[in-house]
């Protein structure tokens, strides 16, 4: 049973919409156009992302493979971030979007702690163009575009049509056909969040990845630079 939500889970409920995304990893080429589109759509500042594409190399030469894993908010049907938010700044829309009210957010980061997918971030306060800062932000499935009949910016720009968006409750939609006909995977289904981003053919090494020190020199350098940039801390203390 879902508690603390402003709208009940709508997956499979007749007469209700359930917006969802399929990411067909057979088609992802790691071009990062989705990341750029998202940055452009929302003026997302440096250092934080609404969507990312994780990259992982597996195997040893000559038997190697590079895996791409686009990640974003899963707009869960039972989102833990929503029920844990003390001010209802983050809320569930009846069509399935999990959205954020900036004017209510106190940036206590409970939602960041609650999210199993690391899909949330805190916007820096010193932004030049946009005045919204010091609050938690996340992917919105571009609900402002969807309400006007468009698809999200990342879907619009995806070169290989790897990202497909639509109403999963509509049996005639492309996304319902894909989820119905293909073997799909969601991230961390055991958490009971009912995530609504479905992956076709992901690699186990990148869906199951938890804490692991980066192996390559480049990845270690990236990690060091990231944490040093955030005042040498792996925690938010002193960053805000």
């Amino acid at each position: 049973m879902a508690i603390g939500l402003q709208a009940e889970p709508s997956l499979g409920v007749p007469g209700k919409k359930r917006w969802a995304m399929v990411i067909d990893l057979r088609r992802c080429i790691g071009c990062m156009a989705c990341v750029c589109a998202d940055k452009a759509e929302y003026d997302v500042p440096l250092g934080v992302w609404r969507t990312i594409v994780k990259v992982k190399d597996t195997g040893a030469y000559p038997n190697t493979r590079r895996h791409f894993m686009p990640r974003l908010c899963n707009h869960c049907d039972n989102p833990p971030c929503v029920r844990n938010c003390p001010t209802e700044a983050t809320y569930k829309h009846e069509d399935g979007f999990v959205l954020q009210r900036y004017e209510r957010c106190i940036a206590c980061r409970t939602c960041v702690a609650a999210c199993p997918y690391n899909a949330r971030h805190v916007l820096p306060t010193n932004r030049s163009n946009v005045k919204i800062g010091g609050v938690v932000d996340k992917c919105t499935f571009c609900n402002h575009r969807v309400e006007k009949g468009l698809v999200p910016a990342c879907v619009q720009t995806c070169l290989g049509r790897s990202r497909i968006f639509g109403d999963l409750n509509d049996p005639a939609s492309e996304i319902a056909r894909l989820v119905g006909r293909h073997k799909t995977v969601v991230l961390k289904p055991e958490k009971g969040t009912a995530p609504q981003v479905y992956y076709i053919k992901p690699d186990r090494s990148i869906t199951e990845q938890i804490f692991a020190a980066p192996e390559s020199y480049a990845a270690r350098s990236d990690a060091d630079a990231f944490f040093n940039h955030n005042r040498g801390s792996r925690f938010f203390g002193g960053v805000l």
Partner: protein
């Protein structure tokens, strides 16, 4: 190229560990000194400490308020959890308990100063209930996070209440020593409270350790962190200094005020590091997900 595209900063840092420690210490200290009015009997030995402890509790609550507010990204909105109360959020309940508890302590202290003894029992009782709820909510705040497997255990709220009792015993004992109000009955009572709380802490320590030792991949990652970069804090400061040493002092040493106060202070140190380790180790396994 690269193995990872993004690194995540853990949401909660030392501010939260200190807050959990101080608010637990403050609330349980009040419960102890309000006990003469609420329970009576043997608890009456706390009566001479009521006024000074209540004042100190208010100081601790003030420090907690500053810590909580400054930790927010939007400090000016600190009243929003009450204004936009969300019943499924532990933080909303915590804000409510915090404010109500503060009111009870102020009321209790005022009733004492003004000599209105008839108000002491109802205010003490209400304050005691809230004093239990405050550390309970701090544990609930972690337990509710199903995404963090180390935290997602029903033992965490109970553990935080018990740790708060130990640290409160330290505060009350120290205060009695500073004010020269220690006597045999008070020392014996604090000793017995401490022995009980430390034994329960030890049981929960072992239980939690066993749980994560037989746990999921994420819990085992947390255990790996506990056994590496957090090993001193967990095994040395929490277990040896914070649990076993004070238990040994209380069970085998003489029951003198200095010995009991020393054991209480050590248990308070352990009560802080135990929370600190749980908060840190609960978050880091997700940093690279």
């Amino acid at each position: 190229m690269f193995e990872y595209m993004q690194f995540n900063i853990s949401p909660w840092g030392w501010e939260l560990a200190v807050y959990f420690f101080l608010v637990g210490m403050a609330s349980m200290s009040f419960a102890m000194v309000a006990a003469p009015n609420v329970i009576g009997g043997a608890m009456s030995v706390f009566e001479p400490l009521q006024r000074s402890t209540s004042m100190l509790v208010l100081v601790l609550l003030a420090i907690c308020s500053v810590l909580l507010i400054m930790d927010l990204g939007q400090p000016s909105r600190f009243l929003y959890p009450l204004i936009y109360f969300h019943a499924s959020s532990p933080l909303s309940w915590g804000s409510l308990f915090f404010v109500l508890f503060g009111i009870c302590v102020v009321g209790f202290l005022s009733a004492q100063i003004m000599g209105k003894s008839s108000l002491l029992k109802p205010l003490g009782l209400a304050g005691t209930v809230l004093a239990v709820l405050l550390p309970l909510y701090t544990g609930w705040d972690l337990m509710a996070q199903q995404a963090r497997e180390l935290w997602h255990s029903p033992a965490i709220p109970l553990l935080f209440v018990v740790l708060s009792i130990s640290s409160a015993a330290a505060l009350v004992s120290l205060l009695a020593m500073v004010q020269g109000k220690q006597n045999e009955n008070l020392t014996t009572l604090i000793r017995n409270i401490l022995i009980c709380s430390l034994l329960v802490t030890l049981i929960l320590f072992v239980a939690e350790w066993l749980r994560i030792s037989y746990g999921t991949a994420e819990e085992m990652q947390a255990l790996a962190l506990i056994n590496s970069e957090l090993s001193t804090r967990f095994w040395v400061i929490t277990l040896i200094v914070g649990i076993l040493a004070p238990l040994g002092m209380l069970l085998m040493g003489p029951s003198t005020p200095i010995m009991v106060t020393g054991a209480a202070v050590l248990s308070a140190v352990g009560a802080y590091t135990f929370r600190d380790v749980i908060i840190v180790a609960g978050q880091l396994p997700m940093s690279f997900y």
